[in-house]
């Protein structure tokens, strides 16, 4: 999993998307996969009530489990529901882009994602950093920000800063706000001023960058186990964590699963277009 890249990527995606697309839709799409499913991964306790997945990675990325939220089909379903309810094309496109970015970004850890679910439960991964959610929130933070995962987050901070104009007032007023009626609705319904709207737009960059930097500093300076949990920028690291290893599967099996999964996904897209999306797309603005 990525800790801050999901938010940071939204600015780059918005900047380089020429179609009319909602940035709010992109950020919602980038979060929707984890929005309602993440709490049991680390565990959650209020009084005597506790909620924790017995095997976090199977729950989070597998089937049975909520791993379907990290598939392209899930993005299509969520975007279609929003299209039906909001009748807005920019949100539909934004959610699809944002959710797909989440699915592909999470290929970076050692567990990966079921990109073509439900056609296949094959998980795809490049295994750049260790999936260590089973170590709890702090163990995962220490592992992630001691590995290439943290470097990945910091790379996205630099990419956004290199194209800093995407954070400018001009870009917001010329490109972000006109593409999405939600900003005007916020102003009318809640009296959100231009400063407030701009703050909302920029907040996710500030939050993502600060989160990456803050957890990195925590891992290096305040982590009680920092003596053992050292920086390890090797592929698939850090070595000191009890990570979920990459599945060792035959390439022929992976190719077969991919062919089936991609075919089923294509059929789903065509069905969704014919049965739901086309009708509401034509009525939408």
């Amino acid at each position: 999993m990525s800790w801050a890249a999901h938010e940071l990527e939204t600015y780059v995606l918005r900047k380089h998307t020429t179609a009319k697309v909602s940035w709010l839709g992109i950020i919602f799409g980038a979060w929707v996969s984890d929005m309602f499913t993440k709490l049991p991964v680390y565990g959650w306790k209020i009084g005597s009530f506790s909620l924790k997945a017995s095997v976090p990675y199977k729950y989070h990325r597998g089937w049975p489990g909520v791993g379907f939220t990290h598939s392209l089909s899930f993005g299509l379903i969520v975007a279609s529901v929003v299209l039906v309810l909001a009748r807005n094309r920019a949100w539909f496109v934004g959610i699809i882009i944002g959710q797909a970015s989440h699915v592909f970004t999470d290929l970076g850890d050692s567990v990966g994602t079921m990109v073509f679910f439900p056609g296949t439960t094959q998980r795809y991964t490049v295994g750049t950093w260790a999936y260590a959610a089973q170590q709890g929130r702090y163990g995962d933070a220490a592992a992630y920000y001691s590995s290439l995962g943290g470097a990945w987050d910091l790379l996205w901070v630099l990419i956004v800063l290199a194209g800093w104009k995407v954070l400018s007032r001009r870009f917001f007023l010329d490109h972000v706000r006109p593409a999405d009626p939600a900003w005007d609705w916020m102003a009318r319904r809640f009296g959100v001023t231009q400063r407030g709207q701009l703050a909302l737009y920029r907040a996710f960059f500030i939050y993502g960058a600060s989160r990456a930097l803050s957890w990195t500093l925590w891992a290096r300076l305040r982590n009680p186990r920092r003596g053992q949990e050292t920086l390890d920028l090797t592929w698939g690291g850090p070595d000191w964590v009890n990570k979920v290893p990459r599945a060792n599967e035959a390439w022929t099996m992976v190719l077969r699963n991919t062919a089936v999964g991609a075919a089923v996904f294509t059929v789903l897209v065509l069905l969704a277009w014919r049965l739901v999306v086309r009708r509401y797309w034509l009525r939408a603005t």
């Binding site: 407030g196 703050a199 920029r202 907040a203 600060s210 989160r211 803050s214 925590w218 305040r222």
Partner: protein, 99 residues
């Protein structure tokens, strides 16, 4: 404390001399963003997930920017070009005044 002089709306619309005022206001606002980021990093090191979570983190940034910026502008003696106006006042079209 007396209310700082407000920029002339017509000058803002035509990009007149009050452009400098808007530019100063933007600089103050930028400083507030830097403060929000720095304070979030420092607080995050100690409070960790209590403040660095998906809800509190962005809300903290928005709250700091929207609440501290007007105060910072007053302290700096710069008129706030985005202050919400009464219906009777002529709206300031700040968008056209961007450099």
């Amino acid at each position: 404390m007396t209310e700082p002089a407000r920029p002339d709306p017509s000058a803002l619309e035509t990009g007149g001399s009050d452009r400098a005022v808007v530019r100063r206001a933007h600089r103050v606002e930028l400083a507030v963003y830097v403060f929000a980021a720095a304070s979030l990093v420092v607080l995050g090191m100690f409070l960790t997930s209590k403040i660095l979570n998906w809800i509190i983190g962005p809300v903290y940034v928005i709250a700091v920017v929207t609440l501290v910026t007007p105060l910072a502008l007053r302290l700096a003696g710069v008129p706030d070009p985005y202050r919400r106006r009464k219906a009777s006042e002529e709206p300031v079209r700040v968008e056209e005044a961007r450099p």
